[in-house]
């Protein structure tokens, strides 16, 4: 479904992503784990079209998307929930969701809003509130609901657990599993390796811009090296 072939991304002279190749198949949950600064967000932003790779290619459902602007990437069905949620704090919950559905025909917005409100009743209660007044967990739900408004075939989530209390982290991961069951393919970027590996089918481990390990998520969860480096054992 998504094929990333040998990409290299730079910030000025800093080589942030080095020869990265990976793929996500339809129906999978794939996770990229690694420490802060390993290049995980850079990879997602390159796929979304916010950054450009100097080499290689990114293809989505057979179409090269490496040179498309972000709004065209999204229109193909590839949405991103960015790191730190990045909801529009000065806009209301409903306006945030409307922005998520920006590429959709106007006639379908109302139905999608109802879908999102059914999935996240908390957002329905707060639809007229500005997003800046929501708690961190609610903002994460809003960010995910906003991405759902685009009806993506593949949803990329960048550190959805960041800054949330353990109970909320569980809740967010439950929602991710639910979305997956409902047919959305998931590419999950996480520092919380334990949670990510238990939710995912496959995983790639990143270190300073390179993939250093890959495989079945369950196998990596039991791998000694991974346990020492990422699970604090």
């Amino acid at each position: 479904m998504l094929n990333v072939e040998n990409i290299n991304v730079y910030y000025g002279s800093i080589h942030a992503v080095k020869d990265i190749t990976f793929n996500v198949e339809k129906g999978e949950i794939v996770t990229l784990i690694g420490a802060n600064g390993a290049g995980k967000s850079t990879i997602l932003n390159t796929i979304s079209g916010l950054l450009r790779s100097k080499t290689g290619s990114v293809t989505f459902e057979g179409r090269p998307i490496g040179s498309l602007p972000p709004h065209k990437v999204l229109a193909l069905g590839l949405a991103q929930v960015p790191e730190g949620r990045r909801v529009f704090l000065k806009m209301t919950v409903e306006e945030n969701l409307e922005m998520g559905g920006y590429t959709r025909p106007a006639g379908e917005i109302a139905d999608s809003l109802e879908d999102v409100y059914r999935r996240f009743p908390r957002l329905a209660e707060r639809r007229r509130q500005v997003a800046g007044t929501l708690s961190g967990g609610e903002q994460q739900m809003l960010a995910m609901g906003r991405a759902l408004m685009a009806k993506p075939a593949l949803m990329m989530l960048d550190e959805p657990s960041m800054g949330l209390a353990p109970l909320l982290v569980e809740q967010i991961f439950d929602i991710i599993r639910e979305l997956h069951r409902a047919g959305t393919t998931i590419l999950l970027v996480e520092q919380n390796a334990q949670m990510a590996l238990s939710a995912a089918d496959r995983a790639y481990v990143l270190e300073t811009g390179r993939i250093v390990m890959q495989g079945e998520a369950r196998a990596l969860l039991e791998d000694d090296q991974v346990r020492r480096a990422y699970l604090g054992e």
């Binding site: 709004h71 229109a75 990045r86 529009f88 409307e98 922005m99 998520g100 106007a106 800046g132 906003r146």
Partner: protein
């Protein structure tokens, strides 16, 4: 009684010039809100609009309404073109490069028009005339009434556009977080072009309203007007549209009050003194509250 009626006429004058500052300030604020650029070429759009009105009425004898529409169309096109040609290629450059480019465009327009039309002022034939209104001891001119009415209508229209329409919401989203807005599928180029179009159209309207009371076009007319509107935008809180409206009216009223007490030579000085005070005391402006982010 005589003092009161002077005060009243000066207040009307203040609201009239304040309306014009407000319309121009809106353009500064919208563009700053979207791409963090102090577009110092914005004032010169007013000048171009004035020359279009002059050409259309004095040279081609077109109907006033046609000349006004022409001024709005040319200014809008010019604003969008400047962004595409001069600013868009610098979108990922340091903001200082963008600022210097804006100043360069301003010089280009002022000196270009001076080269083509000469440095002297062009008199624009009267194109907006009608009865004035007597209120107590004071008169309210027709141009003042038109200016206030048009400005109020535009402010309401603009507020609705920004709050309720798809493009207006996209503008707010881009101004809050450009990257996230792009991830929502908002086309950045379209939104930025739309913002410049809107700001330039407002500047053209301001230009027409300006001509309705000072019927002259000159190559440098936009620079002082633009600077004062910039002060208005900063006073209101740059990036804030209600702030730009309020700031414009306050600057206009301040100028008029200074004149009312017989110190009209200090008018410009007072405006820039306001800028200094705002920057020292409340740099975010009257309505520009920075919102605190939750993590």
């Amino acid at each position: 009684m005589a003092f009161l009626s002077t005060l009243f006429s000066q207040a009307i004058n203040g609201l009239q010039s304040g309306s014009i500052y407000a319309l121009v300030a809106l353009g500064y604020s919208m563009v700053y809100g979207i791409i963090m650029l102090l577009n110092f070429a914005h004032g010169d759009i007013i000048m171009v609009g004035a020359y279009v009105v002059w050409m259309a009425t004095a040279n081609f004898g077109l109907h006033p309404v046609v000349s006004i529409l022409l001024a709005v169309a040319v200014s809008t096109l010019l604003g969008v073109t400047i962004e595409k040609v001069a600013y868009a290629p610098l979108r990922s450059s340091p903001r200082l490069s963008l600022l210097i480019t804006a100043i360069g465009i301003s010089f280009l327009l002022e000196n270009g028009f001076q080269l083509i039309f000469g440095a002297g002022a062009k008199v624009v034939p009267e194109f907006l005339s009608g009865p004035s209104l007597r209120l107590g001891g004071a008169t309210v001119s027709f141009s003042a009434m038109v200016t206030l009415a048009v400005t109020v209508a535009i402010m309401i229209g603009l507020t609705l556009l920004v709050q309720k329409t798809r493009l207006g919401k996209a503008m707010r989203a881009v101004s809050e977080d450009m990257g996230a807005a792009q991830l929502m599928g908002i086309n950045l180029n379209t939104t930025i072009s739309f913002t410049f179009a809107l700001g330039s159209a407002l500047a053209a309207v301001a230009s027409v309203l300006y001509l309705s009371s000072y019927a002259q076009a000159s190559p440098t007319m936009g620079s002082m007007l633009g600077l004062k509107a910039f002060v208005a935008a900063v006073l209101g809180g740059i990036g804030s549209l209600p702030g730009a409206m309020l700031g414009g009216l306050v600057i206009g009223l301040a100028e008029a009050l200074v004149s009312a007490v017989g110190l009209s030579v200090w008018k410009d000085g007072v405006v820039f003194a306001i800028l200094i005070v705002v920057l020292l005391v409340r740099p975010s402006g009257l309505l520009g509250k920075p919102i605190k982010e939750k993590v």
